[in-house]
C-alpha cells in the first residue's frame, strides 16, 4: 500500500528531503524509502526484492511486514550518515534489510548474496559508482545500503530473541 502510494504521488512531495523532514513533513521518513526516480528504478528494486523473496521463501513475510516500521529508522540513519545528501528516493535501502534476512534465513545462496552485497557496498563507497537504473546525475547512495544492512542485522537479533522467548 505504502509502496503504491509513494510511487503514484509526485516524487517531489514524497521523496526523502533533508530540509523538509524537519519542517512539518514527517511522512517523508516513510515515503522517501518507497518512492523512485523512474519506472526503471522501481522495476530494478522490485526485481531485487522478489529475488530475495525466492531465496528466503515463506519466512520473508515477517520481514516484509517489518519494512514500514524500519523505514523511518533508515531515513533517520541517512540524516546522520550522509550529511551531504539533500534528497533521496529508492527501495534499495530496505532491500539491504532483506539482504540481512537472506543471510540469516536464506541458506547458502543467502549467505553468498550477503558476502557479494557487502563487497559491492565497499566498492561503491570507495569509487562512488553510479547505476544504470538511476537517471543521470543521481548517484548511488551507498550509505542507505549500509544502513539497511545494519538495521536488518538488528532486526534479525530482535526476531531471534522473539523466537526464543518461551510461549
Amino acid at each position: 500500500m505504502l509502496l503504491v502510494t509513494a510511487n503514484l504521488l509526485p516524487g517531489d512531495a514524497v521523496e526523502w528531503r533533508r530540509g523538509a523532514i524537519g519542517h512539518d513533513e514527517p511522512w517523508r521518513l516513510w515515503t522517501g524509502q518507497f518512492c523512485h526516480w523512474s519506472g526503471l528504478h522501481l522495476a530494478g528494486n522490485l526485481a531485487a526484492a522478489a529475488a530475495i523473496g525466492v531465496i528466503i521463501g515463506r519466512p520473508v513475510r515477517r520481514w516484509l511486514a517489518a519494512l514500514p516500521l524500519v523505514a523511518p529508522l533508515l531515513s533517520l540513519f541517512l540524516l546522520v550518515a550522509a550529511p551531504g545528501l539533500e534528497s533521496y528516493r529508492g527501495l534499495s535501502g530496505l532491500v539491504g534489510v532483506l539482504v540481512a534476512a537472506a543471510v540469516v534465513e536464506g541458506g547458502t545462496p543467502g549467505r553468498l548474496l550477503g558476502i557479494v552485497y557487502l563487497g559491492k557496498l565497499v566498492f561503491d563507497a570507495a569509487t562512488g559508482s553510479g547505476s544504470a537504473l538511476l537517471p543521470a546525475g543521481i548517484g548511488v547512495t551507498w550509505a542507505a545500503h549500509l544502513g539497511g544492512l545494519l538495521i536488518g542485522a538488528a532486526l534479525a537479533v530482535a526476531f531471534r530473541i522473539h523466537d526464543r522467548r518461551p510461549r
Binding site: R89, G93, V116, G130, A132, I138, G139, V140
Partner: protein
C-alpha cells in the same frame, strides 16, 4: 520665376526623400563565442584534461556581449534567458541556474572575464548564447503606391526577411572546456507600409529571437541527454557528488543479475529437497 526657383529648391528634397523611402538593404547584429572568448585571435589551448563536474551543478546562463548591445534590449535578453532557465531548472543534477546580465560581461573579455562573472554568480558551468541575426529589407511591387504619399501609410510595399541563429555553448569554467553546444534558428518574413516599416521590422527581429530560443530549448535538451550518455560511456567528464546532491537506492545491472542467479539456485535447491 518664383515657380522655377521653388522647383529647383524642392528637387533635391524630393530626391532625398525618395532615396530614404526606398532604402533597401541588409542589417546584421551578431555576437560570437569565439570573438568573446578569444578576442585576440589566439588558438584554444589543447590540454588533455577531463573536466570535473560536481553535482548538483550551479549553472550560469548569459548572452555573449556583442559590439552593438542595444539591438537586443537587456530586458528582452533576460526574458529569453529565463525561458531557457525555466526549461532546465527542475533537473535533479542542477542546483541552480543563474541568469547573468550582459552588463556583467565585457565585450571581447575572454575566459578571464567569464571566470570573473562565474565567481561573482557562484556558478561552475556557463551556457553562453551567441547570436547572428540578419535582416534583409526590400520594396515590393506595391511600393509604387508610395508615390501617392497616402500609399506610404496604407500599402504594404516594404518587406523584410529576418534570419536568426542562436547558439548555446556550455563551458566548464574551471577547465575552460566546451562540454556541448546546441543551435536554434528562425526565419520571419513580413511586409508593412513604409511609415510602419521600422516598427514592424523591429518587432520581427524580437520575434526572431523568441522563435530561435523556442527551437533552441529542445535541441539543448537533446544535446544534454547526449552529453550524459557520453559522460557514462566515453568518460568525457568526471562526475562527483558534493553536499546537496540527490541520491538513489539502486542496484546495478550486474547486481540484479546476481540476485537472479542466486534466486534460481535457491529455487533449484528447494525443489531438490522438496
Amino acid at each position: 520665376m518664383n515657380q522655377t526657383l521653388a522647383a529647383l529648391l524642392l528637387a533635391p528634397v524630393i530626391a532625398t526623400g525618395c532615396a530614404t523611402w526606398f532604402d533597401q538593404g541588409r542589417q546584421a547584429q551578431r555576437a560570437t563565442v569565439v570573438d568573446y572568448l578569444y578576442p585576440k585571435g589566439e588558438q584554444p589551448t589543447l590540454t588533455p584534461s577531463t573536466p570535473e563536474l560536481k553535482l548538483p551543478l550551479r549553472v550560469g546562463i548569459a548572452f555573449v556581449p556583442g559590439e552593438r548591445a542595444a539591438d537586443l534590449p537587456e530586458a528582452e535578453r533576460e526574458r529569453l534567458l529565463r525561458k531557457v532557465k525555466d526549461a532546465f531548472a527542475s533537473r535533479p543534477y542542477i542546483a541552480a541556474i543563474e541568469v547573468i546580465p550582459t552588463t556583467y560581461l565585457r565585450a571581447r573579455g575572454g575566459f578571464d572575464n567569464l571566470q570573473q562573472a562565474a565567481q561573482m554568480f557562484n556558478v561552475e558551468v556557463v551556457a553562453l548564447l551567441s547570436y547572428d541575426q540578419v535582416q534583409f529589407s526590400d520594396s515590393n511591387r506595391l511600393s509604387v503606391f508610395y508615390w501617392t504619399i497616402v500609399g506610404g501609410y496604407f500599402v504594404n510595399g516594404s518587406q523584410y526577411d529576418v534570419n536568426t541563429l542562436v547558439d548555446a555553448s556550455v563551458f566548464d569554467v574551471k577547465s575552460r572546456q566546451l562540454l556541448f553546444r546546441a543551435p536554434g534558428s528562425s526565419q520571419i518574413k513580413g511586409s508593412s507600409p513604409l511609415v510602419k516599416f521600422s516598427e514592424a521590422s523591429r518587432e520581427a527581429r524580437g520575434e526572431g529571437y523568441r522563435q530561435a530560443i523556442d527551437t533552441l530549448i529542445p535541441q539543448l535538451d537533446a544535446q544534454l541527454e547526449n552529453f550524459k550518455v557520453r559522460v557514462k560511456e566515453e568518460k568525457v567528464a568526471h562526475v562527483v557528488n558534493k553536499p546537496g546532491y540527490s541520491g538513489g537506492g539502486a542496484s546495478d545491472l550486474a547486481g540484479l543479475g546476481l540476485f537472479g542467479v542466486l534466486a534460481a539456485l535457491a529455487a533449484l535447491r528447494k525443489r531438490r529437497v522438496g
